[in-house]
Amino acid sequence: MKQLMLGNKAVARGLYEAGVLFASSYPGTPSTEVTEELARYDDVYCEWAPNEKVAMESAFGACLAGRRAFCGMKHVGLNVAADPLYTMSYTGVNAGLVVVVADDAGMHSSQNEQDSRHHAIASKVPMLEPSDSAEALAFAKLAFELSEEYDTPVLLKMCTRVSHSQSVVETSERTVPLKEYKKDIQKYVMMPGNARKRHPFVEERTRKLTEYAETSPVNRVEMGGTKLGIITSSTSYQYVKEALGDSVSVLKLGMTNPLPEKLILDFASRVEELAVVEELDPVIEDHCRKLGLKVRGKDLLPICGEFSQNMIAEAFGLKTDHGRNLEETLPMRPPVMCPGCPHRGLFYTLKKIGCTVLGDIGCYTLGAVPPLGSMEMTLCMGASVSSIHGFNKALGRESESKTVCVIGDSTFMHSGMTGLANIAYNQSHSTVIILDNSITGMTGHQQNPTTGYNIKGDPAGKIDLEALCRSMGFRRIRVIDPYDLAACEETVREELACDEPSVIISRRPCALLKYVKRRPPLKINPDKCKGCTSCMRIGCPAISMKDGKARVDATLCVGCGVCTQLCRFDAFEGMVKED
């Protein structure tokens, strides 16, 4: 049956039809829905792992045991999992192993714009790149075939536009091939003597995969006009077809590592001019140059950001309609912390105290945005905890008394724990604030090791943050409610002042969680409101100023009451205490 399917769901369907039995991932936009959709199938074991490295190694264990396995992540997650990936390239697999990695050109929801194809090349692992949902489904199945035939993990590279677009697919039945586990020390124990023997195997495998790439149907030529030939892949292929149609010839690459040679040379010989259209880095273009071809690419199209059909059309000399603009500049609408967000009260406090705040990856990165504007650094998962240690060691006591780091519960489990071990071990008197909102928020509410539930929503193991910190040797562990501004301020000031490492757990569940009860919206008593704008300092989207008075949007307000603590005139009314 034909149906519209999200790219990520189509990957999940492909993995399912190919008989995947084990899935372990860490959520990350735009990859998250692959694992979420897979978890809907009762006959696949699925889990959220604490981070991508653990996910990949768990998937490796399952494939070693003889069961087709998958792990999924966003592009930066592959950096975390690079360690197992590069050596799994040597060991190869038993049953198939597919790694889905989703790039985010345009940085819709990411801290950088790295190109995962470099990891495929460097680790010498083959990479498939679908350009729509139908290919996502088909390539996921093909990835398992290639994995077992060539004894290698296979990378399936998605991107935001393929992951988060729905297009038409047809599904088929599931078959589940199984393998036996066999002890094979020389293949699976990567100590120098064994690894030296496996490296030539990897080189030979790449040679064989290059041969496969020359004739595989995933790399196809679509001849049209022969004045210009374009080599392209992924969503760029769709933009080329949209903008230029049959006026050009196209070599559409579904496999971007290893790249074919004869196929490209042959295609180049059939067209007058050659160009490569690829988002991010000039990977295919550089390959063409190495083959001695004269080729255009990044001289026409940018390395930074996403492409679109108009961009391609203009790059090749066509005119496009730019639409019409209003004469005035419109106010931007950046993302904001939700009404009732537990992070708001804490960031307000940090701003009030005037702390230097080293931050991390999650919804709370929005603490860097006005009017809170109280986060000064965000790098990668876990970096807040590691970097506050270096920051404080570099600057000493003065810094220790006015610097904090903030990290979410899920990010802390991902890679904050090891940084905390460094603070405990090498003893900087750092103040670490764990923003425990009892969920992985940014990616859309995934469970994690601190929540007590698994990916299917069933009860699971639950890590006790206080006990964990105590076991590392922390003596000062404070728990605060970020809705209570006075308690927040007192606690943060005390922990900054003390001469030992400390952890503050700011604990309150995400306001968007279904089990969190919304309280009735507050109202402004206009007779009491003096229009002093104190309440505006927390940046709540439910509060605005109209005609010199504060106003609460009843459709947005969840009655958290943080604003009431800022008002000196008791102008907010209707506050209901929690049950």
């Binding site: 998250t32 988060h164 950046p334 859309g444």
Partner: protein, 191 residues
């Protein structure tokens, strides 16, 4: 047939998902090739969000570019104005007149622009502006803004009303069906 383009724009959290799901269902059941492109992740947190719906004999790109949209369906007035450059010269905007202040307006850095409907008309855009929140309330549920907008949109596409009804029935939970059908009718008949 040349590919047709519908954009659904609004503020993250306004719930445009049902509108794109319903359109996708309708267009697929009418026999078209369809692509729907969504936004997930950070911008969903109260930011400006857009969904692209494209249909035709064979759709290539999943996104809509400037000057290409046949119709822009907007859940919020400022967002309609923001995406105006994406409208074709002969395209149409169907918008809710609801105003949601973005953070720079909340903080007082800038003010919410005045008379955006008038300004868009002056810029030459065909525009249907309605208080969809009031119409949704009239239908019985403030969350039925989706269907009010789709009801109005249905004027500009030659799909039979039965096809719309079949897609509403397929995409809306049974207990909300009557409210949503009523909202669709109110949007369709609004002038």
């Amino acid at each position: 047939m040349k590919t047709k383009n519908i954009m659904i724009v609004g503020v993250g959290g306004q719930g445009s998902l049902l509108a794109s799901k319903l359109l996708g269902h309708l267009l697929l059941s009418e026999g078209y090739d369809v692509k729907v492109s969504e936004v997930h992740g950070m911008s969903q947190r109260g930011g400006s969000v857009v969904t692209y719906v494209r249909y035709g004999d064979s759709v290539a790109s999943p996104v809509i570019d400037r000057g290409e949209a046949d119709c822009i369906v907007s859940f919020e007035l400022l967002e309609a104005a923001r995406w105006l450059p994406y409208l074709r010269q002969d395209g149409r905007i169907v918008t809710n007149t609801q105003q949601i202040d973005p953070m720079p307006v909340v903080t007082g850095a800038v003010s919410y622009p005045e008379d955006l409907v008038g300004k868009m008309k002056t810029a030459g855009a065909g525009i249907d502006a309605m208080d969809c929140v009031a119409l949704a309330e009239q239908a019985g549920n403030i969350k039925a803004v989706n269907l009010v907008l789709l009801g109005r949109l249905s004027h500009y596409f030659e799909f039979p009303e039965e096809a719309w009804m079949r897609s509403i029935e397929a995409c809306v939970p049974a207990k909300f069906l009557e409210v949503n059908k009523k909202a669709f009718a109110l949007g369709r008949d609004a002038s």
